[in-house]
């Protein structure tokens, strides 16, 4: 496996020999495997129990709070984002007229078919796997946080408490389980089977069938089927996804935009190595400032 140091070494060589900053097109040119997996999240069935949250934390050894009763339900109404100690969170959206049941939304990495984070990452630390997951490589990551900016769902989060070893954290699709034929921890625990793990194409078929069979229950929209070129997590809901704060995205993959940022940078003949030193410098400053902040707050 290529480590960060290896990468930098090759990058130096590459920078020395590069005529014009040439960047591989990344994921946008890859055709995703037709057999890739996905998770269908039926928000009309989700009861907001946060079991998935608890199971995910436990599975990844993220926090001492790993059982549902310890987690409680008190902070569900707050809008939370996935963070280094919760790769997935469940948010509550009140019924528009106040009287009906609320809708709960499980938020995590969508595992895009054409991940913006992957093409934004300048060291290739993030990659889309054939079977669906978008994974990151801790060893390669330099903590530049490009992926955070590029991701249309604001998913990757930065592990601030280990500033010396920068790390980007997000849902990993539980590859360690699925590789062995299992299902992700959140899917396994869900008491109402609001989450279904399986072939993405099959899940879309099921989602379409549900919409057809129960037009009163579902809005005619499978979120993630086409958004940003398609995602592995797919959502069904009764309400408009806008009301649930899902971003309205075009059908085209996002990388187009993020790559143009990158290309833009390289178009000004900024060789990669100087970019890295700039970023590294910024990070160093940041880290120190953060340390200082930590010291003052303590």
């Amino acid at each position: 496996m290529e480590t960060r140091r290896d990468f930098l070494r090759t990058a130096v060589v590459a920078a020395a020999t590069a005529t014009l900053g040439e960047v591989a097109l990344g994921a946008a040119s890859k055709i995703p495997s037709p057999d890739r997996r996905g998770i269908l999240c039926d928000l009309t069935a989700c009861i907001g129990c946060r079991s998935c949250e608890a199971a995910c934390r436990k599975e990844h050894g993220l926090s001492s709070v790993s059982s549902l009763s310890e987690l409680g339900r008190s902070n569900v109404p707050e809008r939370r984002r996935p963070s280094p100690d919760a790769l997935t969170v469940v948010n509550e959206y009140k019924h528009p007229n106040g009287a009906g049941s609320p809708t709960f939304v499980k938020v995590q990495c969508m595992h895009c078919d054409y991940p913006a984070c992957e093409s934004a990452c300048i060291v290739g630390a993030i990659s889309k796997k054939e079977s669906g997951p978008v994974l990151w490589d801790t060893d390669k990551c330099i903590g530049c946080r490009y992926c955070m900016v590029a991701c249309p769902f604001q998913i990757p989060s930065f592990q601030y408490d280990t500033a010396l070893k920068p790390d980007i954290v997000k849902c990993d699709f539980c590859v360690h389980r699925t590789e062995k034929g299992g299902v992700p921890a959140c899917v396994e625990i869900c008491p109402v089977e609001a989450l279904t793990y399986g072939r993405r194409s099959a899940l879309i078929e099921i989602a379409r069938k549900r919409i057809e069979n129960y037009p009163d229950r579902y809005r005619d929209h499978v979120y993630g089927e086409f958004e940003a070129g398609g995602t592995s997590y797919l959502y069904l809901a009764k309400t408009d996804f806008k009301e649930l704060e899902f971003p309205s995205l075009k059908r085209e993959p996002m990388p187009g935009t993020s790559e143009s940022i990158q290309h833009g940078i390289f178009a000004y003949f900024v060789p990669p190595i100087s970019l890295y030193s700039l970023l590294g410098g910024l990070m160093w400053i940041n880290k120190n400032r953060q340390k200082a902040e930590e010291e003052t707050t303590e």
Partner: protein, 382 residues
């Protein structure tokens, strides 16, 4: 001639291929395993051991609640870790309630002719994500989906596992398998609903729910046939907050009340007072007859005017002279106390004003009174 023979040979082969293709296609579509339809893994021709098979065009069942099981212990799911005791499900109570909300099909959504399938006939014990059929929730998911939605809407604390489960490790929660299951369910009923209709000459229709349920003693299912559970099972006070909506217009009332002709029977400009038997019939039910069904006195007369029998039909010991008229709120004076009932209550119609003319030419009730009004009488119950 040879050409035709050749052509038909090709045709036969082509048809055969098309057929093969069709067979291959349909068998490819079958996503369920053998056990979805057969009860054994190796069905034979002699014993195909076929299950009753859930098809798309399932038969709607109309079984009566009494033909189903009373209580069921749900114990087919054992998780890992196994945290909870089995759940006691009061099938009878839910089956009876379902008469008000779409009947058995509410839960039993697939039924072959002549029978009602249990959940576990189709929903397997593993989750759909691990099974061959992704579209069908596993048994645990199916149970939870079926229960939690109604319980949550009804405010029955459904997301608290312990409202149905008792934890294995926790001795403080009594085992739900022995407990009476339905104790905590309450029904919230409105007293009066005032409907604002679109009928200009009488916009207001006042509906007294308590009269219909308590006084006329209609079964809930007489009016409520296709409701959500949360329509009645909801936190107290929920009715006060929402304006009464007319759902279904006249259809709700027309099975009992005539809706053609006299609109003013129900429509008015102002809300109306509730049903008052004393005012309508000058006979106070509240004293002794409040628990009787209307038909006990009125028979099956749909207009409830007049009596089907007289008081003596029930109160056989009542004779003129032995009847303490004060129980009606009116005490007879000495002269009238011994008069035959029918002398004043013509044809024993106690709903009509009593008449004096059988004996007196010049007297008229109530200007001339055969006694005095009394407030309350303590008599022994007859």
């Amino acid at each position: 001639m040879k050409l035709i023979e050749q052509f038909s040979a090709y045709l036969v082969i082509a048809l055969f291929l098309v057929n093969l293709h069709a067979i291959a296609q349909t068998s490819g579509k079958r996503t369920n395993g053998c056990l979805a339809c057969h009860t054994t893994e190796i069905p034979t021709k002699a014993d195909p051991s076929l299950k009753k098979c859930p098809r798309a065009d399932m038969v709607t069942v109309h079984a009566s609640a009494d033909t189903g099981p009373d209580k069921i212990v749900l114990q087919k799911i054992t998780g890992s870790p196994d945290l909870y005791e089995p759940v006691l499900f009061d099938h009878m109570a839910h089956a009876k309630m379902s008469e008000m909300s779409g009947n058995c099909v509410l839960c039993h959504h697939y039924n072959p002719p002549g029978s009602v399938l249990a959940c576990s006939e189709c929903h397997m014990s593993e989750t759909s994500s691990k099974s061959a059929d992704l579209s069908k929730p596993g048994l645990k998911g199916a149970y939870h989906r079926q229960c939690i939605n109604c319980h949550r809407e009804s405010g029955l604390a459904a997301t608290q596992c312990k409202s149905c489960h008792s934890a294995k490790a926790d001795a403080s929660t009594p085992s739900r398998t022995t407990q009476k299951a339905t104790a905590e369910v309450s029904v919230t009923r409105p007293t009066r609903l005032v409907f604002n209709t679109s009928y200009d000459d009488g916009k207001v229709v006042t509906f007294y729910h308590n009269d219909h349920t308590d006084r006329f003693r209609l079964a809930c299912s007489a009016c409520h046939t296709n409701e959500r559970c949360s329509g009645c099972h909801k936190p107290a006070g929920a009715f006060a907050k929402q304006a009464a909506r007319v759902v279904g217009g006249h259809d709700r009332c027309s099975p009992c009340h005539s809706v053609d002709g006299n609109c003013s029977r129900c429509h008015d400009k102002e809300p109306r007072p509730g049903f008052n038997h004393l005012r309508r019939a000058r006979f106070d039910l509240a004293r002794y007859h409040s628990t009787l069904a209307c038909a006990r006195c009125h028979g099956n007369r749909s207009d409830y005017k007049g009596l089907s029998g007289d008081c003596i039909a029930c109160h056989s010991q009542w004779k003129s002279g032995s009847f303490d008229h004060r129980v009606t709120g009116f005490g007879l004076d000495e002269t009238h106390g011994t008069v035959d009932c029918e002398s004043c209550h013509l044809e024993k119609d106690f709903a009509k004003k009593p008449t004096c003319s059988s004996c007196h030419d010049d007297k008229k009730y109530p200007d001339a009174s055969p006694g005095i009004r009394v407030r309350s009488v303590r008599t022994k119950r007859l």
